[in-house]
């Protein structure tokens, strides 16, 4: 799925488990301003259909590592929003 706004850089975000079900996709491409942060990404996703049920501060992973939502994103990053972990 690709979502276009008036912004100018495309970021691809992977979604899992409940978040993938909420938004109906396991990955979404979304356009945000260059240098967008994780918080900007979450804000962009929360206005999509189903995205209003995403928490305001979900876990964010960039390039397979947990990072804070204040992290600036690069379009080449592997970005993922993670529901609360529930292994074991």
């Amino acid at each position: 799925m690709t979502t276009t706004t008036s912004r100018n850089t495309t970021y691809r975000v992977h979604l899992f488990a409940r978040y993938a079900e909420l938004l109906g996709h396991s990955a979404i491409e979304i356009q945000l301003s260059e240098g967008a942060t994780g918080l900007d990404l979450v804000g962009g996703l929360r206005v999509l259909p189903g995205g209003d049920l995403l928490p305001a501060a979900p876990f964010l992973a960039v390039n397979l590592c947990h990072v804070p939502l204040s992290t600036r994103l690069n379009p080449s990053d592997e970005i993922a929003l993670l529901p609360p972990m529930a292994g074991g």
């Binding site: 992973a61 292994g87 074991g88």
Partner: protein, 139 residues
């Protein structure tokens, strides 16, 4: 095979134990997390685990390395994903050390770390026909 690993096949705790056992270790703790038949008063028939595979594999390996740095132990953790029926094992954690104290501590730490940090999720299927994602942050 890495000492931190994700797989869809059933888990063999003895095989995982044997990967870290050594004559130098007098204390060997093996923990198995098994799918139980109830949760919060509801009957559970099965669990379906999903994971962010690449990150989960990477994090399991990192946690094993971190634990082996913090304690004088050898560690292994293997998590099963996919459809797991009641009574079958979802995770095996093994800690081997010269003495039991470090083995118990490191085993518990590794299990708790996997549960709280590794991107794995589970959907419970209940005996009343309903289903839900497990969210440890909700009660």
């Amino acid at each position: 095979m890495s000492m931190g690993h994700i797989q869809t096949e059933p888990l063999d705790a003895m095989a995982i134990r044997n990967r870290v056992a050594s004559p130098e270790f007098g204390g060997l703790v093996v923990f198995e997390g098994v799918v139980r038949d109830h949760h919060k008063g509801k009957g559970v028939t099965r669990l379906v685990y999903t994971s962010y595979d690449a990150m989960a594999e990477s994090m399991c390996a990192e946690l094993v390395a971190e634990g082996e740095h913090r304690w004088p132990v050898k560690l292994a953790v293997v998590h099963r994903v996919g459809d797991i029926p009641v009574g079958e094992t979802a995770i095996v954690v093994v800690a081997a050390a010269a003495h039991r104290g470090a083995a118990f501590e490191a085993c518990r730490w590794l299990l708790d770390s996997v549960k709280s940090k590794v991107p794995i999720w589970k959907r419970e299927y209940y005996s009343d026909g309903t289903t839900d994602w497990v969210d440890p942050t909700h009660g």
